[in-house]
């Protein structure tokens, strides 16, 4: 049996986590959604879970979203797509996202439409 693909969401805000998870599940992706509450935990989980897509918040206590993304990308043999999802859109942040190796950068809106579009554009 083919394993379901896995999504990992890294965000320190419980509300955002739940909403993002709902949005992804409602959008009908055939995937299991996992969550991590901070960057360090997220990086560890990437090693174990081998998710396809990781969604990372920018502002988190401990290592921020860009550092988290860099760390995930620097681990060899892990072929993940990282989307940085932020509350504030900003060209400098978009540049940082790119520099950290992110594959996507999008804004958090109330229904996470931008995030869903971004994920869809990757498949």
């Amino acid at each position: 049996m083919k394993n379901k693909s896995r999504f990992l969401i890294v965000d320190d805000d419980d509300g955002d986590l739940t909403l993002m998870r709902n949005a992804i599940e409602t959008a009908g992706f055939d995937a299991d959604v996992y969550v991590a509450k901070n960057g360090e935990q997220g990086v560890e989980m990437v090693d174990d879970l081998k998710p396809v897509t990781v969604i990372v918040d920018t502002n988190m206590p401990g290592i921020n979203g860009f550092e988290t993304c860099s760390l995930m990308k620097s681990r060899d043999k892990v072929n993940i797509q990282v989307i940085i999802c932020t509350g504030v859109v900003d060209a400098v942040d978009a540049g940082k996202a790119r520099a950290s190796g992110a594959d996507g950068y999008c804004v958090k809106t109330s229904n996470y439409e931008a995030l869903i579009n971004e994920i869809k554009s990757m498949f």
Binding site: K73, N79, Q81, T86, R98, A99, C106, T109
Partner: protein, 403 residues
């Protein structure tokens, strides 16, 4: 996903040069995908179909005019890719011509391996930077667009809530009015002795109840008025009115109240009649609201109502010598439910709708209203009303005043 490896297209018909280039490109710091073609035509076709991050073009091929190939590849879909020209450049002008035709850089043959490597590396780096900037700007624009969309949606929701609130207010006021009228009528009959004799003491209490019912009715009427105005359901019944006489009448009604507060209520009016085309009841409401406010907020001095005539309109002023309004509050003065600390005694509070209603009525008449005020010196409300004239009467039949 790792950032995609850069793709390089080599257009070169000399096998030795091609092999040497391949060797150099394979030893670059950045891992690349290299494609080689030995004809200008095939190269151009490739570029129309796929995108490359760098093109290395031999200017001196045997069967192809290098310059023509350069022109052709500049017509490709994605024109941003850099083009490196390679040639022995025996003719010095070729370099200039090549650069003018859109080449990015030139490399002399025979190759100096280190130079080729460095120049290619620079072009790949610049290309990567350009792509990153484009990526960031696209993502930022998409994000901003999304936020605008969201804002727009929220805005529409708010407008809908606002509409619902107004509707609710209108309905509730309407529902409150009917029972209140019955209560008022019943008490009024008792006070008037229609039901039987009432002792003086009870009469006093009931009269106080009546006065407060009237206050409540006034508030509800204001709410209903504002609700009608907001729904655009107000119609003006315009007629020819002598404004001088009207102002005198209105002032007469307020004289007792002014005297009770030791205030002088006076007017400065032209001697002759001034005819305006107005809805009389609604205009009285404007004056009543403004004079009522002036009385409320003036402790000593006077209230002056004056009238000036202009060609097409008249300008009315209601000026008081009261406490005035702070400058920062002036812009919101006509907003619904706004009340400012002008009120000293809590008992003086109204609904905060008087000025909103006054403004709406003036504007429905095609006029405008504004306020001038200095704290501690007094406040003057100035508004305009249309003059009566035959021409206007004909013209106005085509105007819909319900906004």
């Amino acid at each position: 996903m790792k950032i995609k490896q850069p793709r390089i297209l080599v257009i070169e018909d000399n096998k030795c040069d091609r092999d040497l280039l391949l060797h150099i490109l394979n030893s670059l710091e950045t891992e690349c995908v290299v494609e080689c073609v030995n004809s200008g035509r095939i190269g151009v076709e490739h570029l129309r179909k796929e995108s490359f991050d760098l093109v290395i073009l031999d200017l001196s091929m045997q069967k192809f005019d290098g310059f023509q190939v350069l022109k052709d590849i500049r017509d490709a879909k994605d024109k941003a890719f850099p083009v490196l020209l390679v040639s022995s450049f025996t003719n010095k002008e070729d370099k200039v011509q090549g650069l003018e035709l859109g080449a990015t850089d030139c490399i002399n043959k025979p190759y100096i391996i280190e130079e080729v490597r460095a120049r290619v590396q620079i072009q790949l780096k610049l290309r990567q930077i350009l792509k990153d900037v484009q990526w960031a700007s696209e993502k930022t624009n998409a994000g901003i667009k999304m936020l605008y969309k969201e804002l727009d949606k929220k805005n529409k929701q708010l407008q809908e809530f606002d509409r619902l609130k107004d509707e609710f207010l209108g309905n509730v006021s309407h529902e409150l009015r009917t029972p209140l009228t019955i209560i008022r009528e019943s008490i009024s009959q008792i006070v008037d002795g229609l039901i039987g004799d009432v002792p003086e003491k009870q009469k006093q209490y009931l009269s106080r109840a009546l006065a407060n019912i009237d206050r409540l009715k006034n508030i509800i009427d204001n709410l209903l008025d504002i609700s009608k105005i907001e729904k655009g359901r107000v119609e003006l019944y315009k007629e020819k009115v002598d404004l001088v006489a009207l102002i005198k009448d209105i002032c007469a009604d307020f004289q007792t109240k002014a005297a009770a507060q030791n205030l002088e209520l006076r007017y400065e009016l032209p001697e002759d009649e001034v005819y305006v085309l107005i809805d009389m009841e609604k205009t009285i409401q404007v004056f009543t609201n403004l004079i009522g406010n002036a009385l409320k907020f003036t402790k000593k001095g006077n209230i002056t109502i004056s009238l000036k005539e202009w060609e097409d309109f008249v300008q009315c002023e209601v000026a008081d010598t009261g406490m005035g309004i702070a400058a920062e509050h002036l812009p919101q003065l006509f907003n619904k439910f706004k009340q400012f600390s002008r009120t000293h005694s809590p008992g003086e509070k109204g609904t905060g709708l008087g000025l909103t209603i006054a403004k709406s009525i003036v504007e429905l008449h095609g006029g405008n209203i504004h306020v001038e005020s200095r704290e501690g010196k007094g406040t003057t409300f100035i508004f305009t009303l249309p003059k009566y004239c035959q021409r206007r009467l004909v013209h106005e039949e085509n105007i819909d005043y319900r906004r």
